[in-house]
Symmetry: C2
Subunit: 231 residues, 2 copies
Amino acid sequence: MSGCFYGVGVGTGDPELLTLKAVRLIQSADIIGYLKIESGQSLARDIASQWIDKQTELPIHMPAMSIQREQIKQAYDQAAIAIAKQLEHGKQVVFLCEGDPFFFGSYIYLYQRLSKNYHCQSIAGVSSIHASSALAGIPLVQQNDSLAVLSSRNSDQELRYALENFASVVIMKAGKHRQRIIKLIQQSKREKDSCYIERAGQKHEKVEHNINNLTQENGDYFSLFLIVKNK
Amino acid sequence: MSGCFYGVGVGTGDPELLTLKAVRLIQSADIIGYLKIESGQSLARDIASQWIDKQTELPIHMPAMSIQREQIKQAYDQAAIAIAKQLEHGKQVVFLCEGDPFFFGSYIYLYQRLSKNYHCQSIAGVSSIHASSALAGIPLVQQNDSLAVLSSRNSDQELRYALENFASVVIMKAGKHRQRIIKLIQQSKREKDSCYIERAGQKHEKVEHNINNLTQENGDYFSLFLIVKNK
């Protein structure tokens, strides 16, 4: 009998935001997989580290995001082959994923390669939109509100529509495009609704309630804008 | 010194989706508050019940949602007064909240009444959008995707715009308006992208991957449609 491939959400940084289910699955796993970036860091592993002991580790080395798509695709292809081999030996494989595995998570790329032939299960986690709104003390949505979640990869036009028509907007991966996003927020007259958050739950977490205080520099990769009507 | 008023997210039904932080705060709380509907039920308390022992309980009796707004407002006003009294005595008060407290959570109404004068903190939880996509095995958003979260309270026009322009759409509180929403999904030609989920993580959870199989009857209050491009 083949094993199960779990995508386990570990939240955004605070190790206490792991769920009981995440802890149980990590502790009982045969194999623990996670992405490791070129610098050698693995945020997901760091968050879950206190529960990793004698399990076999399967780090997946990921080239820098700026490098072309093909290399990233190959890294996932190779990882899927390695994981499949373990599943065929009946091993339980846990893949650690920041936030929630099905919410912009790297688990999705492995799930798409493996779910047709193997038993896969995503274990929901606390995502960045919830960790960030808690940290900032800003209720994200209530009553009749609607919410749009976009990222800096969306066009100006898409971002502007959301800012003008949704009570609540989250713009993810905002760091690199901070100036562009601030400009769009200003054009939509939503500065007072806006808040900028970096690395919620991590050591160097940051909340800026007045976006006009943000410098011209780029921000962190793990960053977002929360825009909430009368926040 | 006054106590702290915590909104603690307990997820949507599976008691294992409580976070470690939620468990710690529930166990160490002086007072545990939660909404109790007319039938005597409290879903949030049920989910967290194994961690409630000798803490004092503060059930907040909530009139049926169909009854006029004023009575609900009064129930929150009275609850806020009762909680404030405990905080002034230095008590730590935990309010249990389904999903995430700041994501359509009842905690928001108490937070708005208390946060100006008392220390309040929201503890992020696993929300229904994440619990549902995990249960259905449908990745919610990836790469350049954008997500719109609306509810049956939104107008046809708003729902239609989201269905036509967002890769991923969640329509919450869908049960009562199921037929209307199905019609809009059909008009937007997104039947194949759609999935209907009720009570994710609870005893009678339900996933229907083919929305054309849904009956004419109303669905449950805790229900949503997930619409994801090429799900």
